[in-house]
Structure formats: structure tokens, C-alpha cells
């Protein structure tokens, strides 16, 4: 017995957005709290790092003055609530290292990382879909088994190795794209490709198994009974029905993509959030680390909202469901 009723879809979307934004506040507070706790738990002291190079004599008065200036002499709860209050106003403080506002540092680094992650996501979805669809359409056994292995390979190859191979081949051997620090589209290609492979693997596997299962659905038989070609059956009938789990998973890979950006940006010598995190962690630059964590958290919340909104366009059955108990 089902009481699901369908109807006005724009109403469903606005309700969805409203509810999500409310819960986003709670999630964000959680994220910055964890970030705050973690930076203070990491062994090491920012003041020591800033003042001296290991073991050298440090003037206690100077150290105390710096500690006071950075407000690190206050109690932890004090620091925490002061941090929350200013974060609520969008102010994450200034970097211990450079004295620049954290928001400006992030604003400078974010575009490079976001375009890299975005390109990787797009590329991953395209490659993954192509592998899955091709494996359903091909009659060749050899191609079929190659396409079945590719996703596993794509997911298990480490980024540093893929990056090295791609650089060796496309930059050094063929000279097609710049090796390091390139800007613009051409500089984006190799790092984006490196990062896209795990996403491509996930998408390909989920889609391929979904398509395989859809083969036995009645609506597929009906489409074939109308005389539809294999390609039409796969593209028009099966793909949209099986896309939903793949899209969910793609959304969740965004988090690991941003993590992978750290490695990839380092290898390819690109500026971005990855590099910002590495340098800040090394310097125990608390405000920057906390700021970046908040921004990443917000990004994840936004992505999962977008995924859910996309569902309402792809599947007409996604509606508010009323259940009585």
C-alpha cells in the first residue's frame, strides 16, 4: 500500500531547499567545531614554529608577547567561542604566517582548486558513462572484458603514479601540454585527468551494474517490442533510470576529490587550496586551517543539495511522500 502522491514539483523543490539550508547551519557548526578541536590536538605549537628553528634560544618575553598577540594565551573555551562568533560574521581571522585575512587567502586559492575539481568531476562522469554505455552496447567479448576491468584499474591506481606517467608521456615525450604550473585550460588537462580517474571508476561500475540489471526490466522489453535499436534502448530508456545512484556517488566523491587536490596540486605545482592546506598545516596556522575546513564543509553541503535537486528533474517519482503510522 502506498500513499505517495505526486504533484507540484516547484513546491517540492522550495521545501527541499528550505529544509536543507536549516540543517546546513547545524552541520557547518559541527564542521568548524571539529576543525577547531583537531588543530589544537595536532602536536606542535604555532608560536614555536614562528619564532625559531628547532632548538634555538627563544626569548620567553618575546614568546609570551606573541602568544598574547595571537590570543593563544586565552583558555580554549574562550578561544572557541570567540572563533565561533567571528566565524558567524564570516570572519576567520588573519593568517599567523602572513597576517593576511584568511578569507582573502581562501578567495585567492579557491578558484584554481574549484576549477580543477569541477573539471575532474565532469571528466570523471563523462569517462565513466562512456565506459558503462560502451560495455552494454558492444558485442565484442574482448572489448567487454577490457571495459569491465577499466573501472577497477581507474579506482586503484594511485594519483602520484598516474600523474607521473601522464607527465612523462604527454609533456616530456609529446610536449602537448605544459608540465608544471601551467595556467588556463591546457594546464588544467593533466591534473584534471589524474583526479578524474577514481570518479570515472565509481561511475562506470555503478552505471554498468545498473544497466545490466535494467536489461531484465519490463519497460526495456516493451521498448524493444516497439522496435527500438540497442543504442536507443540504452540511451533513452535505461540510462536515466539507472543514473540516480551514480549521481549520488559522484556527489560523495567531491569530498575525496578535494582531498586528492592536495596531492595533485603539489605534483603539478599548481596554486590552490591543496597547497594552502599543506603550508598552513606545516606552520600550525590555525585560522587558515579552520577557514578552509569551513569552506570545504559548505561546499559539500551545497553539492548534496544540488544532487537532490537534480533528482527532482531526472525522476518524476521523487516527491514528498506522506506516510501514516
Amino acid at each position: 500500500m502506498s500513499w505517495a502522491r505526486s504533484g507540484d514539483r516547484s513546491g517540492i523543490r522550495s521545501t527541499m531547499v528550505r529544509r536543507r539550508l536549516l540543517s546546513a547551519v547545524t552541520v557547518l557548526i559541527g564542521v568548524v567545531t571539529v576543525a577547531f578541536a583537531v588543530v589544537h590536538l595536532i602536536p606542535g605549537d604555532p608560536v614555536q614554529t614562528m619564532l625559531g628553528t628547532g632548538g634555538a634560544f627563544v626569548d620567553p618575553a618575546q614568546e609570551a608577547a606573541l602568544r598574547h598577540e595571537l590570543r593563544l594565551d586565552r583558555s580554549l573555551p574562550d578561544q572557541y567561542f570567540a572563533f565561533l562568533a567571528s566565524a558567524a560574521r564570516g570572519d576567520f581571522g588573519t593568517s599567523f604566517q602572513t597576517g593576511e585575512p584568511v578569507t582573502r587567502l581562501i578567495a585567492e586559492a579557491a578558484p584554481a582548486s574549484l576549477s580543477l575539481a569541477g573539471a575532474a568531476l565532469l571528466l570523471g562522469a563523462l569517462i565513466g558513462t562512456a565506459i558503462a554505455v560502451l560495455s552494454r552496447l558492444t558485442d565484442s567479448r574482448v572489448l567487454g572484458s577490457v571495459l569491465a576491468v577499466l573501472p577497477v584499474l581507474a579506482m586503484s591506481l594511485p594519483a602520484y603514479w598516474v600523474a607521473a606517467v601522464l607527465l612523462q608521456f604527454f609533456s616530456f615525450r609529446l610536449g602537448l601540454v605544459p608540465a608544471l604550473g601551467g595556467t588556463g585550460i591546457r594546464g588544467l588537462i593533466l591534473p584534471a585527468l589524474t583526479m578524474s580517474l577514481p570518479t570515472a571508476g565509481v561511475v562506470a561500475q555503478v552505471l554498468a551494474s545498473g544497466l545490466r540489471a535494467a536489461e531484465h526490466e519490463s519497460y526495456v522489453l516493451m521498448a524493444r517490442a516497439k522496435g527500438a535499436t540497442r543504442a536507443r534502448v540504452v540511451w533513452r530508456h535505461m540510462l536515466r533510470n539507472t543514473a540516480l545512484p551514480a549521481i549520488t556517488l559522484t556527489g560523495t566523491t567531491v569530498g575525496s576529490l578535494l582531498g586528492a587536490a592536495v596531492v595533485t596540486e603539489t605534483i603539478f605545482g599548481r596554486p590552490g587550496l591543496g597547497r594552502l592546506i599543506i603550508t598552513s598545516l606545516n606552520a600550525h596556522d590555525y585560522p587558515v586551517i579552520q577557514g578552509v575546513a569551513a569552506v570545504l564543509g559548505a561546499t559539500m553541503i551545497l553539492i548534496s543539495l544540488l544532487v537532490d535537486l537534480l533528482f527532482t528533474y531526472l525522476d518524476p517519482r521523487v516527491v514528498s511522500t506522506a506516510v501514516w503510522r
Binding site: 500500500m1 500513499w3 505517495a4 502522491r5 505526486s6 504533484g7 507540484d8 513546491g11 517540492i12 521545501t15 526490466e217 519490463s218 519497460y219 522489453l221 516493451m222 521498448a223 524493444r224 517490442a225 516497439k226 522496435g227 527500438a228 535499436t229 536507443r232 533513452r236 530508456h237 536515466r240 533510470n241 531526472l314 525522476d315 518524476p316 517519482r317 514528498s320 506522506a322 501514516w324 503510522r325
Partner: protein
């Protein structure tokens, strides 16, 4: 027989490598142009495989032998590309279950227009316009609205009509309809078949109608072909076939036809010893509904509240069956949910043994959960595929912590005996059981708790006629033995006639008529009940069939 049939099949065989036995072992069939040919037979006879084979949609790996001629073309010699160009264009299929045969994410109009686009018979806009005409002629009065909707927005009958429109888009010459109405209620069924007839007869179109209901075949078909275990056992003009059935399988089909099932079934077991038998008068009302209404208010401001049940009065006594009939959407399932305390009444009261269900808490609620049980329509879906039959039957005992391991085993055995499940089936999982066996497991699972009230929601509708007869007989036997009250919900009037003592007719959530089963169904007072009765297959023509005495079970 007419000179050259549009479809001629000789010695068709279908088998799968590695399978124990062939699915089809020798089917002969002639379908004259413009005629309707009924393909009859019990489930497992190979009817659906035959349809799929004619359409050329057998799964890869199937071995096909014999000959199939379509309008002088040897189908068995064509390659896949040529078969594909025939499909949807000249040979169309209307599949069995309308709930799953439409693509859930595409609008109806797009799906109806698709065949025209595939075969290059129209441009996009032209095809869309044609789709509206097709929907209208398939019996959907508001095609503009329907075309823009998705399958889940439509009722079962509307979906089935949409599928008819899909199949007929390219004006095929041969239409294959596989049990096109087994999943819709009697009123929609008659309507769908009427609409199907109107788009086939007079157009020179040939219809192959697969059914296990010979009454329906007599009404709708010219010729009949009876299959059993993968081969043709008898064929000929349908009326002659029904009236002078030669083969035992044909005779069993005639005996199981709904219009030959008119009397209340009697329990095969001896009635309870007179010492323990109760006077009907002293038995109180087990379940009572007092002016109950249920209004569903979907979330979201712009949805209309749905009045599923409106001021219904009803009761079920111990040892008696209340049949609930009505079209899909009449509120039958909501009534079941009310009786099981799964849905709270918006107004009115539901009483079980004179206690208001709304007030039950804690141990009283648990006692009620034990005493009122549900038997599902789709028994296969109601069983966990990972659990053996024995584990499934024992589960309610474990859930309510009613027995230890040893007692559980004994009670599972008892319940299995009661429903006639052999011990060997208890170790099997649902997919290793037949539809009838699955339904017995579901019944045993309900009975193992020794309940007082069974809510049966279309318990036999998903089974073929012979199994249906067995399950209904079983329900009657069990009722007599355990003195159970039944709330028996069905759109199948023939089934209700066989098990119900009293009948309640629902329409749009309201009680239209209520009374003794024989009175209500034989002499309906209300026009709506009359319409329901008349929509039962076999009712209108009421052919005089010789009564074959085929026993329905052990004696």
C-alpha cells in the same frame, strides 16, 4: 479454415542450453487475418514464451526450432535487424503487467509516440499529435493531460490503455496481448478489453490474446489454442473448443472459469465436533468499524486531501467472511490498513473485541498484533528472498517471543500441515517455490500465531485459475477448522462469491451496498453493484457450458 493465415506456426520449440526441459516442445498455431485467437493454458504452459518468441524477443542463448510464417515471410530465417524492423511496426506487443511495462521516467505521450519515431513514420510534432489521437481511441478521454503525465500518476486501467496506445501507434497488423487485464479490476478489465476490441475488429488487425480465463476467451476470441507443457494440445473455434473439450487440460480450464464458480465453497474437512461448535448467534463481533473515515493530507500546500474512506460501518464475526469489493481506488486497502491499526481513523472508531484500537498500548497492542493477521496479494514479494519457508513461518513467533526453539519447530510444522505444505518445502526459498506454494507459506506465517482475524488483501488474484481455486478452498477449510473471521478484499467477484458470507461494496470510499453475499451479488440493489457484476468476464454472454466434474482438491 481461411486460405492463408497471417501467422502460421508449426512445431515451434524453444529451449535453453543447460535447462532441464524445453519451454516449448511443439506449438502449432494459425491466426487468420482479422481474427482474434486466444492462447489458453495453465501457468507454466509456455504461453508467455510463445508470445515473446513470435515478437522475436527471446533472450540471447535461446534455441529456437520449427517454423513461423508471418504474411508469407519466414520469421525463423530473418536476422535480428529484420526482426527489429517488424517489431512495433507490423508485430506489436501489449505486455502483461502495466505497472512495470512503462518507463517510469518518461512522459506517457513520449512513450506512445516512440514507435512512430523509431520506424520513421512521423516527425516529432506529428508523432506527438498522433499520440493524442491514439490515447483517445484507446479509451483515455483527456489525452492532453494523460500525455504529459508519468506512469506513476495513472491508475492500473489507464496504464494498460496507454500500453495499448503504445502498441497500436504504428498500426501493426498483428497484436500480441499477454494477459492484458490480469492486473486490473473487473470494471477496468471490461473497459480495456472493449477498447482493445474496438481498435482491432473491423481494422483487419489480428489479435493474439493470451489468457488463462476461458470465459474471457469465449467473449473476446474467434479461435482458441490450448497449450500444455509447451505444446499445442487442442485448437479450434473457441465456442466449439469450450463446449466439447477433448483434452483434460481444456476441461480443467472450463471448470475453473469464473462463471462456473458461483456457489459458496464448503469446507472439505468435517466441521468441528458438535461439542465445541458455537452457536452463531452467541458469537460477538470480532471487528467493528463505526462511522469510520480516513482522510489523507499529503504534505505540501497545493495537494488536495484524499478522502479514502468515508463514514463506513462494517463488522466481522468469528467464523464468517466479510467480502469487500470495489474498483481500484475505492478504499479497499485503506480498510485493511484500518483493521490492522496501520492507519488511524480520521473520524469514527475501529473496535476489536469491543476494544477501541486507538487506545491499545503495550501488551494489549501486542496481543492485538498476534490476533489480527494479514495475507498479502503478492505472496512472492511478501516473503524475504533470503529466508527459507520454515524460517519465514517461524518469524512472527520469534518477533513476538511466543515460543522457544522446540515449540517453534512444532508450531511451524502444525501451520504447514494446516495449509498443506509438505515438509520438504520448508527448507526452500521463495524463488524455489511455485506461486501457490508461496501463498501457502504466507498463509501459514499468518496462522502460526493462532490469530482470530485474517485480513486477506486479494489473496488469490495473482494466481492462475487452478491455483486460485486451491487457495480459496484452503481459506474456507482453515476458517472452518479454526473458527476465524475473514475480511476478504478482492476485485474478483467470482472469488468473493465463493468465500464470502456477507459483502460490502465500496465506491469512492463510501459503502454503496452491504448484505448477505448471495443477495447482493445475485440481486444487486444498487446500479454500481450491477455494473460490477456485469463486468465479470463471462457474465454478459453467459454461454451454456457443460459442467465437467473436476474435483478441486483431495477428497
Amino acid at each position: 479454415m481461411s486460405p492463408e493465415p497471417l501467422l502460421r506456426i508449426r512445431g515451434l520449440t524453444v529451449s535453453y542450453p543447460g535447462a532441464e526441459r524445453a519451454i516449448l516442445t511443439g506449438v502449432d498455431l494459425d491466426a487468420p487475418a482479422g481474427a482474434t485467437v486466444a492462447v489458453l493454458g495453465p501457468s507454466g504452459a509456455g504461453k508467455s514464451t510463445l508470445v515473446v518468441a513470435i515478437a522475436g524477443l527471446l533472450p540471447a542463448g535461446a534455441r529456437v526450432g520449427g517454423e513461423m510464417w508471418f504474411d508469407g515471410v519466414a520469421l525463423h530465417r530473418l536476422d535480428e535487424g529484420a526482426r527489429r524492423r517488424l517489431r512495433g511496426r507490423h508485430i506489436a506487443t501489449i505486455p502483461q503487467d502495466p505497472a512495470v511495462a512503462l518507463n517510469p521516467v518518461l512522459p506517457i505521450g513520449v512513450q506512445v509516440a516512440e514507435a512512430l519515431l523509431i520506424h520513421g513514420m512521423a516527425g516529432r510534432q506529428q508523432a506527438a499529435r498522433r499520440a493524442l489521437e491514439l490515447l483517445r481511441s484507446a479509451g483515455l478521454p483527456d489525452p492532453e493531460t494523460v500525455a504529459a503525465r508519468y506512469p506513476h500518476n495513472l491508475s492500473g486501467g489507464m496504464r494498460q490503455r496507454a500500453l495499448v496506445a503504445c502498441a497500436l501507434a504504428a498500426e501493426p497488423r498483428l497484436v500480441l496481448a499477454d494477459e492484458p487485464t490480469s492486473a486490473v479490476d473487473a470494471v477496468s478489465q471490461a473497459g480495456v478489453l472493449d477498447d482493445l476490441a474496438s481498435v482491432t475488429t473491423g481494422t483487419g488487425r489480428t489479435l493474439i490474446l493470451v489468457t488463462h480465463d476461458i470465459g474471457l476467451a469465449i467473449e473476446r476470441a474467434d479461435w482458441g489454442v490450448v497449450l500444455d507443457q509447451g505444446r499445442t494440445v487442442e485448437s479450434g473455434p473457441i465456442r466449439r473448443l469450450a463446449a466439447a473439450a477433448q483434452h483434460p487440460v481444456t476441461r480443467a480450464l472450463v471448470a475453473a472459469a469464473p462463471h462456473s464458480r458461483t456457489a459458496r465453497l464448503r469446507p472439505r474437512t468435517d466441521p468441528a465436533p458438535s461439542g465445541t461448535a458455537r452457536e452463531p448467534a452467541e458469537t460477538g463481533q470480532l471487528l467493528r468499524l463505526e462511522r469510520v473515515s480516513v482522510v489523507y493530507r499529503p504534505t505540501g500546500r497545493r495537494f488536495e486531501p484524499v478522502r479514502a474512506v468515508v463514514e463506513v460501518d462494517a463488522h466481522v464475526r468469528r467464523g464468517e467472511t466479510l467480502g469487500v469489493v470495489g474498483e481500484s481506488g475505492a478504499g479497499k486497502s485503506t480498510l485493511a490498513a484500518l483493521a490492522l491499526r496501520l492507519v488511524p481513523p480520521t473520524a469514527g472508531r475501529v473496535l476489536f473485541d469491543d476494544a477501541d484500537l486507538a487506545g491499545l498500548r503495550g501488551s494489549a497492542l501486542r496481543a492485538f498484533r498476534r490476533r489480527a493477521q494479514l495475507v498479502f496479494q503478492d505472496a512472492y514479494a511478501a516473503l524475504n528472498p533470503q529466508m527459507t519457508a520454515g524460517t519465514a513461518i517461524a518469524e512472527p513467533l520469534r518477533a513476538l517471543r511466543l515460543a522457544n526453539r522446540a515449540e517453534r519447530a512444532i508450531r511451524v510444522r502444525e501451520a504447514a500441515d494446516l495449509v498443506g505444505l509438505p515438509a520438504s518445502t520448508l527448507d526452500r526459498r521463495p524463488r524455489e517455490l511455485s506461486g501457490g506454494e508461496c501463498q501457502r507459506v504466507v498463509l501459514a506465517r499468518a496462522l502460526v500465531l493462532r490469530p482470530d482475524l485474517l485480513i486477506c488483501d486479494e489473496p488469490a488474484s495473482a494466481l492462475d485459475a487452478a491455483m486460485q481455486a486451491q487457495v480459496l478452498q484452503l481459506l474456507v477449510d482453515v476458517q472452518a477448522e479454526l473458527d476465524l473471521g475473514y475480511l476478504f478484499i478482492s476485485h474478483d467477484l467470482a472469488a468473493v462469491r465463493q468465500v464470502a458470507d456477507r459483502v460490502l461494496v465500496l465506491r469512492h470510499g463510501r459503502v454503496v451496498e452491504q448484505g448477505v453475499a448471495a443477495d447482493v451479488l445475485e440481486r444487486p440493489a444498487h446500479a454500481y453493484t450491477r455494473a460490477l457484476v456485469e463486468a465479470t468476464p463471462g457474465h454478459r454472454t453467459a454461454p451454456k457450458l457443460p459442467v465437467h466434474h473436476v474435483p478441486t482438491g483431495g477428497m
